[in-house]
Structure formats: structure tokens, C-alpha cells
């Protein structure tokens, strides 16, 4: 097969987006079918490519000249797998959105921009140099904006504003980093980056470009302190779009961080520590926000942020562990994979709830899922998966990440890293706690008043779109060695240049112990904190979920917006306003002084006669007396004499 096949998964969705839009203007039904076919086709292409890659084929394609610098693609194990995941998520969400979006307006626009985003995202995953990555990354940022604001409600617009601002600023900071990186290394090609860095030997001057690029990718991934858009944009987008934003688009950010870590800052301790610190904060903050949230999708969004934190911790450990980082490598890759699949299931479940009730507030949707076994099971699979329950996929990846921290503690003797381990377990516990909160609220507790019966709550295709990925979660967890291990083996080449053999006892006692500690913490948090502090009894009735997170405590409204909307514009406007008029003021000042025009004498003056070139300007009597008298002449003569004398004396004295 020719290498040009790599263009298919990227440009098939992008080019057919227009076709879907045009078809949609004629017939909604045809458009839905076409979109489904495209989703399935994209998935089939990616699956086929993965099969080739598994058989040992590596595709790589350079197209010089396009966009001025040429695009460069490559398909290896990691990329093929992630392209497949992206395609899978697109297929499932497209199938699901037919029913979910049935009553939405502007559906053509939605399909247009989802397909564009799909192509761009696959483009990011297949890219083989930072230029190509950046090209598709930016397209993805802008097209996904429309997915966020699909509702056009004020809340969505505001979230979209945050989203696009972070994306634009992140993109430009990243571009600056790329420029610096290119000028210092001479290449942006992933295959040549590592050589260029080893030839350079001095990593110090790469930290600045590295940090700038990390800023851009981290902004998309939802890394602290650039996470602000994530808990806002995910809940307001339509559920299928949230699943994509959370499951795939954040991973596009992680993709860039992986390249930086594996190719530029390979086994670098400072880089590792920095990522670890950011990862721990993101992980913990996301989990805490999720525990406090009383909105189904917001909880899931905060959970995404927290899981990104887990992944970043894994990437940080890759840097720290040096030669022995295989556990961290596997953990990172597998947690990405797990999280994408889990979030697909969970967000689509939330979508089912919203599609029927048009509400997401836990108090309003409480108990809605009680008599819906299918939804119940699917959600439970996702919840158990993400909570890291043994036998589900989340357990596998979290265990690996935990093991890598333990390994590092073993190497260095602990210190601050012991705290990292406990924070890791605590975040895992919080994950279990907030998922229990959601599950209990939606599927266990009784509703305040019975919900009206409305026939079937979801169609067959939606059920398939949720059910199949949900089924995959325990299957992956039950057979970790062949499935998860195989996936990790595919992915490892991308992250480290020289992967070593790993042997992992997935269900060893120590590993189970870590999971048990986490789950115990989770249970404690749930019963001692969520059920007491976060639920209040209201006027003798039952307990209700309350949002006790202080409104003002929000990085965006507290710092970013005041800074960007008030402080900076004020300063800039002040400076600009002054500078803008500088030249005009100079001209005005000249007009008033040197270039002042002589006044034109009034015409009806009486003493103005035709042919008289010097019109008599009336002078005051005093002036006339002075200037006309002989004493005035004598006065002037005297002054002149004095000056002449002074001059003579001056000359004589200086001789």
C-alpha cells in the first residue's frame, strides 16, 4: 500500500465535511446516514492501518511544498492506535448524535465542524514534525470552538469565549516556542529531534522553548493553570461533543507533551519534576472540583482534568526514572487509552440523561436511572473503570502509574515523592468518591417525585454506541496481558527510543493493596464528607446536594478575566491613547505657536481703503505715544549704546 494512504484518514473527514453540509441542506435523513457512513469508514480505514502497523509496516509520508514548508506524517504503533481511538470515538458519537441532536437547531453546522475537527485531530496524531502538528492543532482549536458554542446560549458563549481565548493564546505561545526551538535545534522533525538534542548537549537553552511549547499543548490538555476552560466548556457543549473534547482533543495536547518528553527532554530530571508538579496539582485540583460539583457533566469534566493530571504524573515519572522508565511509559499510554474509552461511555450516558430530561443538576435528575438497567450497567462500567476498581481497565493503568512512583521512591529513598504517592492515592480515592456520588444520585436514590413515563429513553443505535465501548472496559481489565500489554507494546516505541522488556504481575498483592487504599479513601470521603458536608437536609425533607464551593474561588473570574479584561486593556489604552495622538499634538502645538496665522482685519473698519496694502490696524493710544515720541528713540539709542559698551568691555576683559 502506498504511503499516501496516510492522507485518507486526515482529509477524508475534512473534505467530506462540505459534502455532508450540502447534503444536509437538502435532506436531514440522508445527511445522518452519510455522516454515519463516514464515521464507520474512517474507523475502518484506521483499523486497517493499525492492522498493517501491527504486521510491522511503518508508514511515513512527506509532502513538500504544501503550506509553504511541507507536511510530514508518520504512522507507528502509538499513532495508529490513537488514530483508531479517535476514529472509534467519532464513529460512536456520530451514531449517538443522530438521536441526541434530533431537536437541536443548526445540526448541519454541527456535522460540518465535527468532521473538520475529526480530520484535524487525526492529523495531529499522525503528524511527524511540530510544524504539521501545529497546523492541525490550530485548525482543531478553531473548528472545535463551534462544537462548544453549538447551543448559542449565553453560558455556552461565555464558555466558548474562554475556550477560544485559551486556545489562541496557547497557540501563539506555542508558536513562539516552536520558533525558538527551530532556531536552536535546526529541525522540528520528530525523528531528528533526538539526534539534534544529543548533538547539542546543553539542555539549558531548550527549557524556555520547551516551556512555551508545553504551555500551548498543556492549554489544550487542561493542565493547571490553563485548565480554566475545561470545566466550563465540556458541560455546555452537546454531550457527543463533550465526549470528543474530553476523550480525544485533550489527548492531542498530551501528544505534544509526549513528543517533548520523549524526544527533546528524554530522561531529563528538571523537566520530569516540573511536569510531575503540574500533574499533581492538576490531578488533585480536578478531583477536588469534581467532588464539589453538583452537575453531572461538570463532574465528568473536572474528572477529565484530574485524569489528565494522572497522565501528566506518568509523563513526569518518565522523565525522572531515566533508563528504567518503562512502567511509567506503559502507565501513561494505557491511562490515555483507558480515559478516552471511559469518558466516551460516561459522557454519552450523561447525554442520554440530558436528552430525556434537559437537566443535568443532580437534584433534578436524581433517581432517573433506577429502572433503566442498560444505562445503569453502562454507567457503572465507566464508573468502576475510572475509579480504578480491580478487573476494570482503569485499575491496570493507574496501578502502573502508581508502581512507577513507588519504583522511584525505591531508587531515591522517598522524601517529597512519598507525598506525591499519597496525593496520587488520595486523588484516586476522590475519583472513587465522586463517581459513587454520581452513581448513587442517578441510579440508586429515589426521585423526589416520579418522572413522567415517556416510552423508550434511547434508540437502538444510541444503545449500541454506549454499550459497545462500555463492554470493552471490563474486557480490557479482565485480560490485561494480551490486550493492555499488547497496546502498551505498540505505543512504547513512540515514547522512548529504546524500549526495554517489562514483565508485570498485574494482580499482585502490592498492586491490589494500592487500589484498596485508594478505594478505602474513596469510601471514607464519600460517607464522611460528601454525605455530610455536601448534602444538606432542607426544611425537614430529604437531603439535597448543595454546591458549597465558593463562587468567587475560580481562577478565571479571580485572576485571568480581571487581568485580561480590565487591567491590561486599561494600561494599553492609556499608553496607546497618548501615543496615538502624539504627532497630532505636536502639530497642534505648532499651529498654536510658530505657525499661528495673522488675523485678517475686519472689513467694515472704516479706515480701510481700496488699494491700501497695509490696512491700518488700530493701535492703542499708549503704544502710539511711545513709539512715536523722540524720547522713545532716545531710549532705544541708549539701550544700543549700553549693549555696545558691554560688548567692548567683554572683549577687553577676555583678552
Amino acid at each position: 500500500m502506498s504511503d499516501f494512504v496516510l492522507l485518507v484518514p486526515v482529509f477524508l473527514p475534512m473534505l467530506s465535511a462540505a459534502a455532508v453540509y450540502l447534503v444536509g441542506r437538502r435532506s436531514k435523513k440522508a445527511r445522518d446516514i452519510l455522516a454515519d457512513i463516514l464515521g464507520i469508514g474512517e474507523f475502518a480505514v484506521c483499523a486497517l492501518l493499525l492492522a498493517y502497523v501491527c504486521a510491522g509496516r511503518v508508514f511515513s509520508l512527506e509532502i513538500p511544498g504544501v503550506c509553504g514548508y511541507g507536511l510530514s506524517f508518520k504512522l507507528d504503533g502509538f499513532r495508529a492506535l490513537y488514530a483508531l481511538i479517535a476514529a472509534l470515538m467519532w464513529m460512536m458519537t456520530t451514531v449517538f448524535s443522530r438521536e441526541y441532536l434530533a431537536h437541536y437547531r443548526n445540526r448541519n453546522r454541527y456535522y460540518l465542524f465535527t468532521l473538520l475537527t475529526c480530520g484535524a485531530t487525526v492529523g495531529v496524531f499522525l503528524s511527524n514534525d511540530f510544524f504539521t502538528t501545529f497546523v492541525f492543532f490550530e485548525i482543531m482549536s478553531f473548528t472545535s470552538y463551534v462544537m462548544v458554542v453549538q447551543d448559542e446560549k449565553p453560558g455556552a458563549m461565555r464558555a466558548g469565549e474562554t475556550y477560544i481565548s485559551v486556545a489562541v493564546i496557547g497557540g501563539m505561545v506555542m508558536l513562539m516556542g516552536l520558533f525558538l526551538m527551530e532556531s536552536r535545534l535546526g529541525t522540528l522533525n520528530f525523528d531528528r529531534l533526538h539526534e539534534a538534542v544529543t548533538a547539542k548537549a546543553d539542555l539549558k537553552e531548550l527549557y524556555l522553548p520547551g516551556a512555551l511549547i508545553l504551555f500551548g499543548f498543556g492549554a489544550k490538555a487542561g493542565m493547571f493553570p490553563l485548565h480554566i476552560w475545561l470545566p466550563k466548556a465540556h458541560p455546555v457543549a452537546p454531550a457527543p461533543a463533550s465526549a470528543l473534547l474530553s476523550g480525544v482533543l485533550t489527548k492531542a495536547g498530551i501528544f505534544g507533551v509526549l513528543v517533548l518528553t520523549g524526544r527533546v527532554f528524554l530522561r531529563d530530571e528538571i523537566w520530569g519534576n516540573a511536569l510531575l508538579a503540574l500533574g499533581v496539582i492538576t490531578m488533585l485540583l480536578g478531583a477536588v472540583l469534581a467532588v464539589f460539583s453538583v452537575d453531572l457533566k461538570r463532574t465528568l469534566a473536572c474528572s477529565s482534568m484530574s485524569q489528565i493530571g494522572f497522565i501528566l504524573v506518568g509523563i513526569g515519572m518518565q522523565g525522572l526514572l531515566g533508563e528504567e522508565n518503562m512502567l511509567a511509559v506503559w502507565g501513561t499510554g494505557l491511562h490515555m487509552l483507558s480515559h478516552s474509552l471511559i469518558k466516551l461511555v460516561l459522557f454519552l450516558c450523561a447525554g442520554v440523561v440530558y436528552m430525556n430530561l434537559h437537566k443535568l443538576d443532580l437534584n433534578s435528575i436524581r433517581g432517573w436511572g433506577r429502572d433503566k438497567p442498560l444505562l445503569n450497567v453502562c454507567f457503572l462500567m465507566g464508573a468502576l473503570g475510572i475509579a480504578g476498581f480491580p478487573l476494570w481497565n482503569g485499575y491496570v493503568s493507574k496501578t502502573l502509574l502508581h508502581e512507577s512512583i513507588v519504583e522511584y521512591i525505591g531508587l531515591t529513598g522517598g522524601g517529597i515523592y512519598r507525598a506525591v504517592e499519597w496525593l496520587f492515592l488520595l486523588s484516586g480515592g476522590l475519583t472513587a468518591a465522586y463517581m459513587t456520588k454520581l452513581y448513587v444520585a442517578v441510579f440508586v436514590e429515589k426521585p423526589d417525585k416520579p418522572f413522567p413515563q415517556t416510552g423508550r429513553y434511547m434508540g437502538l443505535d444510541s444503545a449500541l454506541a454506549i454499550g459497545l465501548p462500555a463492554l470493552a472496559l471490563p474486557v480490557l481489565g479482565l485480560f490485561p496481558s494480551p490486550l493492555m500489554g499488547g497496546a502498551a507494546r505498540l505505543m512504547q516505541d513512540f515514547m522512548v527510543p529504546d524500549p526495554q522488556e517489562v514483565s508485570i504481575r498485574w494482580f499482585s498483592l502490592t498492586n491490589l493493596r494500592g487500589a484498596a487504599i485508594s478505594l478505602a479513601i474513596g469510601a471514607a470521603v464519600y460517607f464522611l464528607f460528601i454525605r455530610t458536608v455536601l448534602m444538606r437536609r432542607e426544611d425537614g425533607g430529604r437531603k439535597r446536594y448543595v454546591d458549597v464551593w465558593p463562587q468567587w474561588l475560580d481562577l478565571e473570574t479571580l485572576v485571568y478575566r480581571p487581568l485580561l479584561e480590565k487591567a491590561l486593556p486599561f494600561l494599553a489604552a492609556l499608553v496607546c491613547r497618548v501615543l496615538d495622538n502624539l504627532t497630532d499634538w505636536a502639530v497642534a502645538a505648532l499651529n498654536r505657536t510658530l505657525l499661528r496665522r495673522k488675523p485678517i482685519p475686519p472689513r467694515n473698519d472704516g479706515d480701510y481703503e481700496p488699494g491700501d496694502f497695509t490696512p491700518h490696524v488700530r493701535q492703542s493710544y499708549t503704544v502710539m505715544r511711545i513709539s512715536g515720541s523722540i524720547s522713545f528713540c532716545l531710549l532705544l539709542f541708549g539701550i544700543g549704546l549700553c549693549l555696545a559698551m558691554g560688548y567692548l568691555i567683554f572683549i577687553l576683559l577676555t583678552r
Binding site: 503550506c67 449565553p154 508558536l175 520558533f179 525558538l180
Partner: protein
């Protein structure tokens, strides 16, 4: 082609414009045909000249023993003349429709067509004195266009424009005299410059010429005329104040820097640092001003101020790579900005709305216009696959290859400015397509896309942007060869 065609290209529009009132056109249609055929014929001649370039210079008038007025074409002229020749017919089409609600057609089209010839004259000048002549003529030919409406605001704007331009030209004249006396008495453009030695006087002369010609390129602090001149009819702002006049300023700076003083003499001097610092500052300054401007056309004008300094920044790097970046931005910015202005004009023409908050919800009623606006905005911000991204990439890599404090700051300035650009353009796009609670939609029911005359430029320009964005390898190589002095 024969050298005489250069004279024809410059003289044809000038004569056609000057004679336009003499025909006393009664019907709008016949005037349109007259103007369009003159403009298209000129454009064809220019394209022919570019494809088969005549060798050597064509001397028109001999001024002194050493100085003469003469025309010649080299690579740099080709870029400017080609850009103008492609955009002028489109802008004329647009103007036919737009001018219907302004009136004064004869005067307008007369000066509009004359400006075309004068601009070509600037592009094809063989020496500094010829360029100076056409440069002054351009000022004079465009003043009536700025003052076209005739109300107080536009007359004031015209006066301001006149004052700034003449003042700038005076500065440039001084610099030119320094060159004449101390360097070379023929002032003929040579790639690499004709100045031999680096003296303080020469450097001061460079500063004078840079800021003198920089007035038309709206470099801070001489940018004030450009936003004020936005009161002119939109075809004028779009073509002259986004492409022809301002690019003439930039072009003149390129000529002076690379073809008179020469980068070897200037590189590493305080003069280079000063001009580059001013360019870098203007980049951020223009964008910041645009962000706080609520009048759409003035906002675009400030955006032009900023973008012109991108080009100047590339020029002041004084490396061939920098000049290549500058040339690419000169071409791309021309295409992008003229589209934005056309859209703003279409909105004003159809709805009489000029301020940004008034545009909320218009996207639904004027889909073609706002799609073009969106594409051009994204291009100007620097979204990949569209041309603006490429030129910024070129400029930034050239700057970083040069190293040093000011170039690095300049790259940061480019990116900050890109963020600000997103701020001042995407807010327009977003409020047009996603009005919050349907605000501002009353009274819009009659708003619609303009007719084909105005829409055709949108289609052509949007397609051009897509082509330039994705398939411009050839063009970039060509520009780079020009910048290296190979063409």
C-alpha cells in the same frame, strides 16, 4: 516585451483617468465599461511585462547630467506591480456598485484610475528620483479620494493625510540629498545598495528616508493619518489604504534599504536598531489600538498599521530571509486586508452599520459576506492552511536566524499581535454568527448579501487565500529568490 510598454502601463491609466470627465458619460454602464477596460488592459500589460520582462531602463526625461526619470522592472517591482495589477480590477468591480450610494462618480473614477498608473510608476521606477516623483504624485492623486464625501470629517482627514505625506516626503527628500551628495549622483537602484562607507551622516540620512517613506507605511509615530483616512469610500480604503498607498510606502522603504543604502552598510548600526525598534513597537501598538476601536473600518485601519510594521520588521532585519518574509507578508496581507475591507464596505452599503456591536447577528443575513470575513480573519490571525500563517512563520524564522534582542522581541511582538488580532477580529465574527439572545437582529430582515459585482471579489479573493495558503511553495521560492537579488 518592448521597454515602451512600461511607459504605456503607467501612462494608460493616468491618461484614461484624466480624460474621463471629458467624455461626459451619461450612463453609468458606459462609464463602467470605460473604466474597467482601461484597468483591465493595464493589468494585462503589467502581467505581460512580468512574464516577459524587458531588459534595461527606459529613460523618459533627463533632469541633470546625472539624474533622469526612467522606468525599469526588476523582481521587487514585479511583486508590487503584480499585486496591484491583480487587485485593481477586482476593486474596480466592487467600486462600481459601492459608489452608487456615494455619488460624484466622475471625479471618483478619474482619480481612482489615475492612482493606478501612479502606483505602477512607483513600482517601476528605476531610480530614487523617479520613485520620489511618483510618490508625491500618489499623494496628490489620492487626496481627492479621501475627501470624496466632502463633509467636514473627510476634508479634515484629507488635510491630515496631505500634511503627513508631504512632511514625510520632505524628510525623504533630505535623505535623498544626502545620498546624492555623498554616495552616488545617479541614485539608480542597485541590489545591495550603492553606498560605500558607513558615516554618521549616511546613517542619519537613512533614518530620515526611513521615517519619511515610513509615513505612508504608517510607522509609529506617523500612523495617525491612516485611521482618519478611513472616512473615504470603502473601495478607497480597501485598495489604497490597505494595498496601494501603504504598500507604496513599504515598497519605498524596501528600495531605500536594500537598493540604495544597502544592508551591508546598515546592518549592526544604531540606525538599524532604531528603525527595527519602531517597527516592533508599531506591531503591538497597532493591534492594541485596533482592539479598543469600535468603528469597524477604523479597527481594520489600525490592523493595517500593525501589519505594515510586520513587513517593515522583516525589512529592517536587513537579511534576504527577512526581505523574503516581508515580501510574502506584503502580498498576503494585501489579499487578506482588502477582503476584510470589502466585507466591512458591503455591510455599510447594505445596512449602514459601522460599529462593531451593531453587527451582531448579521452573519445569518449576509452569509457570503461574513464567510469571506471569517476566512480573511482567520488568515490574518495566522491560522494554518491560510496565507497569514506562512508569512508570519517566514518573518519569525528570519528574525530568529538573525538572533539578538530586538529580533527576538519582534517575534514575541508578532505573536502577541496575533493574539490581539484574534481578539479584535473574532469578536466580530462570533457576534455576527452567534448573537447572544438574538440581540441586534431587529431591523435586519432586509439585510442581504450584495449583488454579484460585490460578491465576485469575495469569491475570487477567498479562493485566492485558500490557494495561497496551501499551494504557495512556488510563490515563496520566487519571493525568496527576489530577496536574494537573483531575479
Amino acid at each position: 516585451m518592448n521597454r515602451i510598454f512600461m511607459l504605456i502601463a503607467a501612462a494608460l491609466p493616468i491618461l484614461a483617468g484624466a480624460l474621463l470627465p471629458a467624455w461626459r458619460f451619461q450612463k453609468r454602464r458606459s462609464r463602467e465599461i470605460y473604466v474597467l477596460s482601461a484597468v483591465c488592459a493595464t493589468s494585462l500589460i503589467v502581467l505581460g511585462l512580468l512574464l516577459r520582462r524587458p531588459e534595461g531602463a527606459l529613460r523618459l526625461i533627463r533632469l541633470t547630467r546625472t539624474l533622469d526619470i526612467s522606468l525599469a522592472i526588476d523582481g521587487l517591482s514585479g511583486v508590487f506591480a503584480g499585486l496591484v495589477a491583480v487587485l485593481w480590477p477586482l476593486a474596480s468591480l466592487y467600486a462600481f456598485e459601492y459608489i452608487k450610494h456615494e455619488g460624484g462618480d466622475d471625479r471618483f473614477f478619474a482619480f481612482y484610475t489615475v492612482s493606478y498608473g501612479v502606483t505602477l510608476g512607483i513600482a517601476m521606477s528605476a531610480n530614487l528620483i523617479t520613485m520620489y516623483l511618483f510618490y508625491e504624485l500618489l499623494t496628490l492623486a489620492t487626496v481627492p479620494l479621501v475627501a470624496h464625501t466632502g463633509d467636514r470629517r473627510s476634508v479634515r482627514a484629507a488635510k491630515k493625510y496631505l500634511g503627513y505625506s508631504i512632511g514625510g516626503a520632505a524628510c525623504a527628500f533630505l535623505g535623498m540629498m544626502i545620498l546624492y551628495v555623498y554616495a552616488d549622483q545617479s541614485l539608480t537602484f542597485v541590489y545591495g545598495g550603492f553606498v560605500q562607507e558607513r558615516t554618521p551622516l549616511i546613517l542619519a540620512g537613512y533614518l530620515l528616508t526611513f521615517f519619511g517613506f515610513g509615513v505612508k507605511a504608517a510607522v509609529f509615530p506617523f500612523h495617525g493619518w491612516l485611521p482618519s483616512a478611513g472616512v473615504a469610500p470603502t473601495p478607497v480604503t480597501a485598495l489604497l489604504h490597505a494595498v496601494a498607498v501603504v504598500k507604496a510606502g513599504v515598497f519605498a522603504v524596501m528600495r531605500v534599504t536594500f537598493y540604495c543604502f544597502g544592508p551591508e552598510v546598515l546592518r549592526g548600526t544604531w540606525a538599524q536598531e532604531v528603525v527595527m525598534a519602531f517597527a516592533v513597537f508599531t506591531v503591538v501598538f497597532g493591534s492594541a489600538m485596533a482592539l479598543r476601536e469600535q468603528h469597524l473600518k477604523r479597527r481594520l485601519a489600525y490592523s493595517t498599521v500593525s501589519n505594515l510594521s510586520y513587513i517593515l520588521f522583516g525589512v529592517t532585519l536587513m537579511t534576504p530571509a527577512g526581505l523574503a518574509g516581508a515580501l510574502s507578508h506584503m502580498v498576503f496581507h494585501g489579499v487578506m486586508k482588502i477582503t476584510l475591507f470589502f466585507c466591512a464596505g458591503a455591510v455599510m452599503y447594505k445596512t449602514h452599520r459601522e460599529f462593531v456591536p451593531e453587527l451582531a447577528g448579521l452573519g445569518r443575513y449576509m452569509p457570503v459576506t461574513f464567510t469571506a470575513f471569517t476566512v480573511a480573519s482567520a488568515a490574518l490571525v495566522g491560522v494554518p492552511l491560510l496565507p497569514g500563517f506562512l508569512s508570519k512563520w517566514n518573518l519569525a524564522t528570519a528574525a530568529l536566524a538573525e538572533g539578538g534582542v530586538i529580533p527576538t522581541l519582534g517575534v514575541a511582538a508578532l505573536l502577541i499581535s496575533a493574539v490581539l488580532t484574534a481578539g479584535y477580529l473574532f469578536t466580530v465574527v462570533v457576534s455576527a454568527f452567534f448573537p447572544v439572545n438574538g440581540e441586534g437582529s431587529h431591523g435586519l430582515e432586509l439585510a442581504e448579501d450584495p449583488n454579484l459585482y460585490m460578491k465576485l471579489p469575495f469569491f475570487v479573493l477567498t479562493a485566492l487565500m485558500a490557494v495561497l495558503g496551501m499551494g504557495s511553495k512556488g510563490l515563496l521560492t520566487l519571493l525568496s529568490r527576489i530577496a536574494w537579488g537573483e531575479l
